[in-house]
C-alpha cells in the first residue's frame, strides 16, 4: 500500500487501537512514514477522541433527581404494602415476577409522595426486594390504579387521569396553565390499559404515557385532548389534540402545566 493507495479510516482506527496483527501493523507503519494523507487520517482520529473528551459533563438537573427520588419513594411504598412472593432471577439478572406487581410510581407526584408519608415508617422485610404483589385489594380510591403491567407500562407507571368533560377547549386555554382542567380526584384515575388505541398509539410515538386524557371538544369539534409531560422541571406539558379518527386537529404544542 504505497503510492496512490491509502488505508481507510477504519483500518487506521483499528491500527491505533492495536487491533491489527503484527504484519499488518508493520505494513501500516512503513506506509505512514511516507504517506502524509494517511498520517493526517490518523491525526483526525485522534482529534475525534479529543473532541469527544472535551464535551462538558452535565450534572443531573434537579427536577430529574427529584423525580427519581419520588419514583424510589413510591417503589418503597409499594414494596412495603405487598405480601411477599419471591421472584425468579433470569439469565440477565432481571428479576422476573411470578405475578404482576402493581406499580404506584406512575401516580402524580403529590399522591405518590403522600402515600409514602403515610406508610414510610413501616419496616421493610429483607426479601421484599424480590416481592411481587398478590391480588390484594388496596386502600379506597386506589383500586382503580391497579393493572397488570406489561414491560412498557411498568416503566411508565399505570395511572392516567381520564375525563370526558365535553368541554369546548380553545387554543388559548390549551396553552395553559392546564392543571386546573386536569386535576383529577383519585376516582378519575384509570389504568393505561383502559386507554383507547389512539391514545396508546400517540403514547408509543412519544414514548411516554399521558398524564391526562379528556374526551372533549376543540374549537367546536369533537376531540380527544392528551397531555404528556414534556419537562417537569420547566413545568411544561405536550398537548396533543386529535379527532375521532386519531388525526391531529392542530400541531402538537407545548403548554404550561401550573
Amino acid at each position: 500500500m504505497t503510492g496512490d493507495t491509502h488505508y481507510d479510516l477504519e483500518t487506521l482506527a483499528e491500527f491505533a487501537e492495536g487491533l491489527l496483527d503484527d504484519a499488518s501493523a508493520r505494513g501500516i507503519r512503513e506506509h505512514l512514514a511516507v504517506c502524509d494523507p494517511c498520517g493526517e487520517g490518523l491525526a483526525d482520529l485522534s482529534t475525534v477522541r479529543e473532541l469527544l473528551a472535551a464535551v462538558p459533563t452535565p450534572a443531573m438537573p434537579l427536577g430529574v433527581a427529584m423525580r427519581i427520588d419520588q419514583a424510589l419513594a413510591a417503589e418503597r411504598t409499594v414494596l412495603i404494602e405487598q405480601p411477599v412472593t419471591l421472584g425468579v432471577v433470569d439469565d440477565d439478572g432481571q428479576v422476573v415476577r411470578k405475578r404482576a406487581a402493581r406499580r404506584r410510581w406512575g401516580l402524580p407526584v403529590g399522591m405518590a409522595a403522600a402515600a409514602a408519608v403515610v406508610v414510610g415508617s413501616t419496616a421493610i422485610a429483607a426479601n421484599v426486594l424480590l416481592s411481587a404483589q398478590g391480588p390484594t385489594a388496596s386502600g379506597p380510591g386506589e383500586g382503580s390504579v391497579a393493572a397488570a403491567p406489561t414491560k412498557t407500562q411498568q416503566r411508565a407507571g399505570t395511572a392516567v387521569a381520564m375525563f370526558a368533560s365535553g368541554h369546548n377547549y380553545t387554543s388559548k386555554e390549551l396553552s395553559g396553565p392546564l392543571v386546573d382542567y386536569f386535576s383529577a380526584a383519585p376516582g378519575n384515575y384509570g389504568s393505561a390499559e383502559d386507554l383507547d388505541s389512539c391514545v396508546k398509539r400517540r403514547s408509543s410515538q412519544l414514548n411516554r404515557r399521558p398524564i391526562a386524557v379528556d374526551k372533549a371538544q376543540y374549537n367546536g369539534n369533537e376531540a380527544t385532548i392528551m397531555v404528556f409531560w414534556k419537562d417537569q422541571v420547566r413545568n411544561t406539558v405536550q398537548v396533543v389534540v386529535v379527532d375521532s379518527a386519531c388525526k391531529s386537529l392542530r400541531k402538537a404544542a407545548t403548554a404550561a402545566w401550573k
Binding site: 482506527a13 487491533l19 485522534s46 482529534t47 464535551v55 428479576v95 422485610a125 426486594l129 414534556k230
Partner: protein, 209 residues
Amino acid sequence: MNLPPDHPSPAAALTDADLLTRHIAGDQDAFSEIVKRHRDRMWAVALRTLGDPDEAADAVQDAFVSAYRKAESFRGEAAVTTWLHRIVVNACLDRMRRRSVRPLADDELIDVVERDSPLPDHTLERELSMEVSAALKLLPPDQRAALVLVDMMGYSVEDAAAVLGVPAGTVKSRCARGRAKLVPILSHLRNQSDLTRVSSAKGAELRDG
C-alpha cells in the same frame, strides 16, 4: 430487620457495596445514598448515549428503579458502579432499539427531539455538545455506547467491557469503527477550538510508535 436506630452509621462513610448490603437488609436510606453518589455520572452516560434529555431522564429513572428492585441479584464480582452503569446502558440501548423499530415520524415529535440539552451556556462548549450529540446519533447504538464510555466518560476499555458485557477487543473495535465514522462528520470542528492543539503530536506519536 432494620438496623438498630441507636447505632446510626453515617452513610457517607460507607462503601457502595456496604450501602447495597444495607439496602437489601432493609435500610431505607442506603439506596438514596447510592443514587446521590452516582446520579450525575449516570445522567451523563444516559444523556450522551440517547442524545435527548427526556429520554435520558426516563432511562435513568427506569435504571435506578430496576437497580432498587433487583439489588439482590448483585453478586459482588463487579464494582457497584459497574453494575449500575450496566443497568443504565442497557436501559438506554433498549430505548434506542425500541425507537428504531418505531421511528418517530409524527410532527408531534419534532418538538421533543429539538429540545436543547440543559447545558451551561458557554457558547463554544454548547456548540461542541450539540455537534457531537448530533454526530453520535448517526452511529449504531453499540458503537455509540462504547464511545460514550471510553472517549467521553474516560473509562478504561476494560471497565467499558465490563459495563457492556463484551470482551475488551470488541469494545476497541466498536470504538475504532465509531471514530472512523465520526471523522468526516466532525472534521469541521477540527480547527474551531484549541481543544485539538495536541492532536498532531499525538498522531505523530502513533504513526512513529
